[in-house]
Amino acid sequence: MIILADAVNTAIIGKGLMIGGGFIGPGIGIGIIGGNYMAAVGRNPEASKFLGQALVFIAIIELFALLAFASIFIVS
C-alpha cells in the first residue's frame, strides 16, 4: 500500500470521488423534479405555468452539486 500511495496521486482519486459522489444526489433530485413536472403537464396541460417554480427548485438543488464541484479545488 505504501508503494501504491507513492505511485498514485491520491488527491486525484479523492477529487474524482468528490465529483462523482456529489453529483449523484442532485442528479436524482433534478430527475425527480423534471419527471414530476412532465407528469403533471401530461395529466393537466394547464400545469405548464409552473415551469418557473420547477426551475427554482432545480436551482436550489443545483447548489449542492456546485458545492461539490467547488470543493475539489480545496483538495491538493
Binding site: E62, L63, L66, L67
Partner: protein, 275 residues
C-alpha cells in the same frame, strides 16, 4: 490559444486578484469590472427610460420593458394583497437587471484572460467574486428583514416562525430550527450566484483549453448555456428574496386562527377531496 503555447492544463481563477490600490485600498479586478458594468447599466437604462413610449415600437426598449413587467407581476403576485408589494417593485427590478447585466457582460469575449496587468487578468465578472455576491445578498436580506419587521410588527414577525403555540416544546424546537434556517439564507443566496458564475467560467476555460486551436467552436455551446444560466440565476435570486419577504408579510396579514393549536375546520370544508 495556439497549440504551440499549450500548457499543462487550463488556467482557471477561482478568486479575484488585486490589480491596483487607491490610497491603500486594494481594488480587485472584479470590482473594477463591476464599476464598468454598473456605469454601462445606468447609462443604458436611463437612455431606455427616456425613450419609452405608450405605443411600443419594438427593439431593445421593448425587451427591457417586458423584463420590468415580468418582475413587477412576479413581485405583486407573491403577496396576498398585491398593493402591499408595489413599493418593493423598484428594488427587485433593479436587482434583476443588475445581476442579469453583470452575468451577461461577464461572458463577453475579452473578459478573463485576454487583458492582463501584472500577471493577473484585468477584467473578471463582478458576480464571479464571493465578496460581490455576499454584498448583494446582505443588502437584499437586510431589506427583507427590515421591511418584514416593519410590515408585520416585531411580535408578529417572531410569531411567524412558530407554527403553533410557542409554549409547546415541539413547536418551540421547530421554531428555533426555522430561525436558524432563516440565518443561512443570506449565505445560500450569495453562494449560489457566485458558484454558478465562477463554475461557468471554469467550464468555459476547460473546454476552450480542450479545443486548443478550435477553442471558439468548443467553448461556444457552453457560453450559450451560461447565457441561459445567467438569466436563470438572476430570476432565481429575485424570486427567492421576494418569497422570503412575502412569507413574513403574508403571515402577518393572515387570520389569527391559523396560529393556534385548534384543528382548522374551515380548511377541511374548502377541500372536499380530503374530507
Amino acid at each position: 490559444m495556439f497549440s504551440i503555447f499549450a500548457r499543462s492544463g487550463p488556467v482557471i481563477y477561482i478568486t479575484s486578484k488585486d490589480i491596483f490600490t487607491i490610497h491603500g485600498v486594494q481594488i480587485t479586478n472584479s470590482i473594477f469590472y463591476g464599476w464598468i458594468c454598473g456605469l454601462a447599466l445606468m447609462i443604458t437604462l436611463i437612455l431606455v427610460a427616456r425613450r419609452i413610449t405608450v405605443r411600443p415600437k419594438g427593439g431593445f426598449i421593448q425587451l427591457v420593458e417586458s423584463g420590468v413587467t415580468f418582475i413587477t407581476n412576479l413581485v405583486e403576485s407573491s403577496f396576498n394583497e398585491p398593493e402591499r408589494g408595489t413599493k418593493y417593485v423598484p428594488y427587485f427590478v433593479t436587482l434583476f437587471f443588475f445581476i442579469l447585466f453583470n452575468n451577461w457582460l461577464g461572458l463577453v469575449p475579452g473578459v478573463g484572460e485576454a487583458f492582463k496587468i501584472g500577471g493577473n487578468p484585468l477584467l473578471r465578472p463582478f458576480t464571479g467574486d464571493l465578496n460581490a455576491t455576499l454584498a448583494v445578498g446582505v443588502v437584499t436580506m437586510g431589506l427583507v428583514y427590515v421591511s418584514s419587521i416593519r410590515e408585520a410588527g416585531a411580535k408578529d414577525y417572531i410569531k411567524h416562525f412558530f407554527i403553533g403555540n410557542p409554549l409547546n416544546p415541539m413547536y418551540l424546537f421547530l421554531g428555533l430550527v426555522e430561525m436558524f434556517t432563516d440565518m443561512t439564507r443570506v449565505i445560500s443566496l450569495s453562494i449560489r450566484l457566485f458558484l454558478n458564475v465562477t463554475i461557468g467560467e471554469i467550464v468555459i476555460a476547460v473546454f476552450a483549453y480542450l479545443g486548443s486551436f478550435f477553442a471558439p467552436i468548443t467553448a461556444a455551446p457552453f457560453t450559450l448555456i451560461e447565457l441561459f444560466v445567467g438569466a436563470l440565476q438572476a430570476y432565481i435570486f429575485v424570486i427567492l428574496s421576494v418569497m422570503y419577504l412575502a412569507i413574513a408579510v403574508n403571515h402577518a396579514t393572515a387570520n389569527d386562527h391559523d396560529l393556534t393549536d385548534e384543528p382548522v375546520t374551515e380548511t377541511m370544508r374548502l377541500t372536499p377531496e380530503k374530507a
